[in-house]
């Protein structure tokens, strides 16, 4: 048991962040190396830690703040699922962002906060106690805000305000829930939370609801999702960060922690709080899809699609059967891979062809074939068309629903698949079969820095589905985690 590694893995993004803040605007080369170096080291550490965790070695670090208030960083399998995803996507997004932002203004600020954001995500994943989780959760909110408002135009600033207007009350609810719980039970360490039964059923239910409300804002659970589509005003790498690497994931991750490591499956079932959450998630899935259908802007449609997709994770977690857990957890990774691909492509369309609306997509497939192929793969994954990763998640979620005695889940999945098809296929149709108008602006995809990450994540989404049975696939890892939770 050592304390070095958890701290080190946090430092891989924290230290570059702090250094980058002080770099002059022109030092883009140093910035790039710091970022990429940090990301690369982090991936190496993650791989090493995976081996360690698979071998049953525990790593944890602790910092005392006040009696009863301490930061605990601890590496477990669930941590690594999230950290590995965010580390890989961070690397990709960084490469993408360097190319995307080019020599725009305020880059040191941007990349500084960007890395801080990832540091917060890492900390959140590593958090071993509720309060540690909360602290990093809140840090994530704060470090994301400057990224959302990065463009400094009216739209971004409004989006930033909205983001905070949703997030801060959410965090307040979360804090109340945590302190309420801890004032009765003492500090809650994940997976060994002590006896929650000292509180009454009603109190526990209220705590569960407050907690779900708090993290639900980040996870864009209906009706707390309003900020997400507005946040599309931010640059594409930020969207990628919000939708895939960090923010909404943090919310979903919080729900998983809540159900499995704080309340535990047994107590959740006893209180009967899983089902309402599952129903809300199911409603969000359908609602997000319906709203996506109504959008006319590419990024907004994708944003509502996220609203819908992230709730799959929550649905899986809330159903709490063996397969459902696996489905939910694996979707954490799969959704990240697929959605980031879509956002990378949307950014490419926007940046290289000036396309923001869906009706402008006509015939872009011919002019930007690689981008469009990646977009197609991502979209197919979202619909659940195999062998892109999405179908694996849905398969397990569906099985999980049946296993948990909730057959309606299958219906929700099928309906959502059709709705997803309803809003993605017309886009694909325009991309591949539409005819570009004569006055369409110049378009090309000659930006290796933006294209390579898109191709890589698209390939990863394909591989995650195609080789789901492999020993090191997300599915295998999710199954390992789930096995740890189930009696």
């Amino acid at each position: 048991m050592t304390a070095v590694l958890p701290v080190l893995i946090l430092a891989t993004s924290l230290v570059p962040a702090l250094l980058i803040f002080w770099l002059p605007e022109r030092a883009w080369r140093a910035r790039a190396w710091l970022n990429l170096g940090g990301a690369a080291v982090k991936i190496l550490l993650v791989v090493f830690l995976m081996v360690e965790v698979a071998n049953g070695v525990t790593h944890e670090a602790r910092l005392d703040l006040a009696p009863g208030l301490y930061l605990l960083l601890r590496v477990d399998a669930l941590t690594l699922l999230f950290v590995s995803l965010s580390a890989f996507l961070w690397l990709m997004t960084t490469i993408y962002a360097i190319a995307y932002l080019g020599d725009g203004p305020n880059l040191s600020r941007f990349f500084g906060f960007f890395s801080l954001c990832v540091a917060a995500t890492t900390g959140l994943a590593l958090a071993g106690t509720l309060i540690t989780f909360f602290i990093f959760f809140e840090l994530l909110t704060l470090t994301t805000w400057p990224l959302v408002v990065h463009k400094e135009d009216a739209k971004s600033v409004k989006a930033g305000r909205l983001y905070l207007a949703y997030s801060l009350p959410g965090s307040a609810a979360l804090l109340v829930a945590i302190i309420w719980l801890e004032s009765a039970t003492g500090p809650v360490i994940f997976a060994e939370p002590g006896d929650l039964r000292v509180l009454s059923d009603a109190s526990l239910m209220a705590i569960f609801a407050l907690f779900a409300l708090g993290v639900g804002v980040k996870a864009a659970l209906f009706p707390l999702h309003g900020w997400l589509p507005e946040a599309m005003a931010a640059p594409a790498p930020v969207s990628a960060l919000l939708h895939a690497v960090a923010v909404v994931k943090a919310g979903a991750f919080g729900i998983v922690r809540l159900i499995y490591d704080v309340f535990g499956i047994a107590l959740t079932a006893e209180l009967g709080v899983g089902l309402p959450l599952a129903l809300l998630a199911a409603f969000t899935i359908l609602w997000g899809s319906l709203r996506a259908l109504q959008q006319t802007e590419v990024k907004k449609r994708l944003a509502f699609s996220t609203v819908s997709q992230v709730s799959y994770i929550i649905l899986g977690a809330a159903l709490a059967g063996p397969y459902a857990v696996i489905g939910g957890l694996v979707h954490l990774v799969h959704q990240g891979l697929m959605k980031i691909t879509l956002f990378f492509c949307a950014g490419l369309y926007d940046e290289r062809a000036g396309i923001t609306r869906i009706d402008q997509l006509d015939g872009i497939g011919r002019r930007m074939p690689m981008t469009s192929i990646c977009f197609t793969i991502g979209a197919m994954g979202m619909i659940g068309i195999p062998p892109v990763a999405g179908f694996v998640s849905k398969f397990y979620l569906g099985l999980g629903g049946l296993q948990a005695g909730e057959p309606w889940v299958v219906g929700v999945l099928a309906a959502s698949a059709l709705l997803n098809a309803g809003y993605f296929l017309p886009m694909l149709y325009r991309i591949w079969f539409g005819v570009a108008p004569a006055d369409a602006p110049q378009a090309d995809e000659r930006s290796l820095g933006m294209l390579v990450p898109a191709v890589a994540t698209a390939a990863a989404s394909l591989a995650a589905g195609l080789f789901a049975g492999a020993a090191i696939s997300p599915l295998a890892w999710a199954s390992l985690i789930a096995a740890g939770y189930l009696p």
Partner: protein
């Protein structure tokens, strides 16, 4: 961990087309990408002809892929390989200046791989993936020529394919949950206990196989595709649904036993009626497929699984030959027409069950499944088939080449002729192993008569038509799709135009008023006198409470 446990060839057979397809995208090869088409199904052909039965596993692939080679699958696998081979060769002659050859070749290979995959898959996930591959990749074959008609057909195809996938997913999920296993055999065994799963699966597979009323995509998509692709679609791809039913139907399908027979017969006759009202040879052929698949469904409902496979295989060869025949006729001038037409009529006659041809054997094979009026109904359907195919040939002849001495190129007629040969001959070799009959049975007088009278009846019925040439009302391709499509697009339109909830607001109601109230309160606290008096009052109150 071994990547593959068991023989490698089944995986090679599936991966080889994919590799070729990817290779076709290579810039240097793009222009000549079509040459990969004939090569793609070769390993699968080898597998079907010369490989021992057995299964093989790749644990890392998907959710642990298991492929199995056994009797009905092997036959249909071979059929798929042969049809795609023939269609591939045909395509070389058919496309003179191909549009986007690399894209066409890529999706051709992907569709093929999926089509082969459904015949081999022994686990649910692999089956689902393969099924999706064949369904969705085929879309690009349908819309290849980019015409408005093709795009429209493609759209209908895609919507229904999606619906099929969704049904399939639900069915498979329910099935797997009931069986608690991913093995198809296990799922099938438990389906009699899971009626909802069975229903979803039958609808999903039926959709692919052209079961009424989910057949609408067939008469739209098959004619819209380029001829070699039509052949593959109608000959091979619809069989993905058939193999699904063969694999998944439990011993006791409950109500669906009757349901399949009834729906099958409705399709068998409805296809004939709707087909006769068509104006396009390929559309007529597509309706004939609906009709024939109806029969296969009925056979499956009757429980004759292997016979259904045999029937389906024969139909695949013959129908693919007919589609290619339309292409061959289109390249034939007046002079060579009689010979070509004579050859083109052979698969038609075979499907109609004319004596001594392959079709007669397979029709005899399925006969024991039916009794009473059903036996008659099945037998009589051959009359309809004959009429329908005659109409198809008639329409095809009208579309012959303008130049009187035009002759089909060898690349066109050779694969066609090959397919005809296989269609006519193969049942003779396979009848014994796929049914309880022997070839000798069909040579008996009774069965010769059984095969002949429907054709004579057809000739009788057709005669007045040929003489009088009445105007036949035209039925739009895809019949039901017209009203349904309109309804669907209206629904979609409504969904999209639903009033959007207003976006989130940050301004609080009454904020201005609240601000004024607060400011007034603040101003009231400012004058010293009030503050001082308050302080004095509080001092007194506190002193009193502290002393007490």
């Amino acid at each position: 961990m071994n990547l593959v446990i068991g023989p490698l060839l089944p995986f090679v057979a599936l991966a080889w087309p994919l590799l070729l397809g990817l290779g076709a995208a290579w810039p240097a090869w793009r222009e000549r990408a079509l040459w990969v088409l004939p090569a793609a199904p070769l390993p699968a052909l080898l597998l079907a002809i010369a490989w021992p039965e057995g299964s093989t596993t790749a644990p890392a692939l998907l959710l642990g892929t298991v492929l199995v080679l056994n009797a009905p699958g092997r036959l249909l696998l071979g059929m798929v390989a042969v049809i795609w081979l023939a269609a591939g060769i045909f395509a070389l002659g058919y496309f003179r200046a191909p549009r986007k050859p690399a894209v066409f070749a890529g999706f051709w290979c992907l569709t093929l791989s999926g089509n082969l995959g459904v015949m081999l898959a022994a686990d649910v996930a692999t089956f689902y993936v393969a099924f999706a591959a064949v369904s969705f990749a085929a879309y690009w074959l349908v819309v290849h020529d980019g015409s408005a008609r093709a795009l429209m057909a493609g759209r209908v195809y895609l919507v229904l394919a999606l619906l099929g996938e969704a049904l399939l997913l639900v069915g498979l999920l329910l099935g797997v949950a009931a069986a608690d296993s991913l093995s198809i055999a296990a799922v099938a065994a438990s389906l009699s206990e899971a009626p909802l799963a069975l229903t979803c699966l039958i609808l999903g597979f039926g959709l692919k196989a052209g079961m009424v009323p989910l057949h609408m995509w067939l008469p739209l998509a098959h004619p819209a595709a380029p001829t070699p692709a039509s052949a593959a679609l109608s000959g091979a791809i619809v069989k993905a649904g058939i193999i699904g039913l063969i694999r998944f139907l439990p011993e006791d399908a409950g109500l669906w036993t009757t349901g399949l027979i009834l729906l099958g017969l409705v399709g068998a006759y409805g296809g004939v009626v709707a087909g006769l009202l068509q104006r396009n040879a390929k559309a007529v052929l597509a309706y004939s497929t609906v009709s024939q698949m109806g029969l296969v469904l009925a056979v499956l409902g009757a429980g004759l699984t292997t016979e259904a496979a045999l029937y389906a295989a024969h139909h695949g060869f013959a129908k693919a030959a007919l589609f290619l025949g339309v292409g061959v006729l289109a390249a034939t001038g007046r002079r060579a027409l009689p010979w070509v037409l004579a050859l083109a009529a052979l698969p038609a006659l075979s499907i109609a069950g004319a004596p001594l041809l392959g079709g007669a054997l397979v029709k005899a094979a399925i006969k024991p499944g039916f009794a009473g009026w059903l036996e008659w109904a099945v037998a009589l359907s051959a009359t309809g088939t004959a009429l329908l195919l005659a109409r198809a040939l008639w329409l095809a002849v009208r579309g012959r080449a303008d130049a009187a001495d035009a002759r089909p190129a060898p690349l066109l007629w050779a694969p066609w002729a090959g397919l005809i040969l296989v269609a006519l001959a193969l049942p003779w070799f396979l009848l014994a192993s796929f049914s309880t009959l022997t070839p000798g049975y069909v040579l008996g007088l009774a069965s010769l008569w059984d095969a002949t009278w429907p054709l004579l009846l057809a000739a009788l019925l057709a005669a007045p038509f040929l003489r009088l040439r009445p105007r036949v009302p035209a039925l739009p391709e895809g019949d039901l799709v017209v009203p349904l499509g309109a309804a669907a697009s209206a629904a979609m339109h409504t969904l999209r135009r639903l009033p959007e909830p207003t976006g989130p607001h940050l301004a609080l109601p009454g904020a201005t008023r609240g601000k004024a109230v607060l400011a007034a309160l603040e101003a009231a606290l400012l004058p010293w006198r009030r503050g001082g008096l308050l302080a004095a009052a509080l001092v007194l109150a506190l002193a009193w409470s502290l002393a007490g």
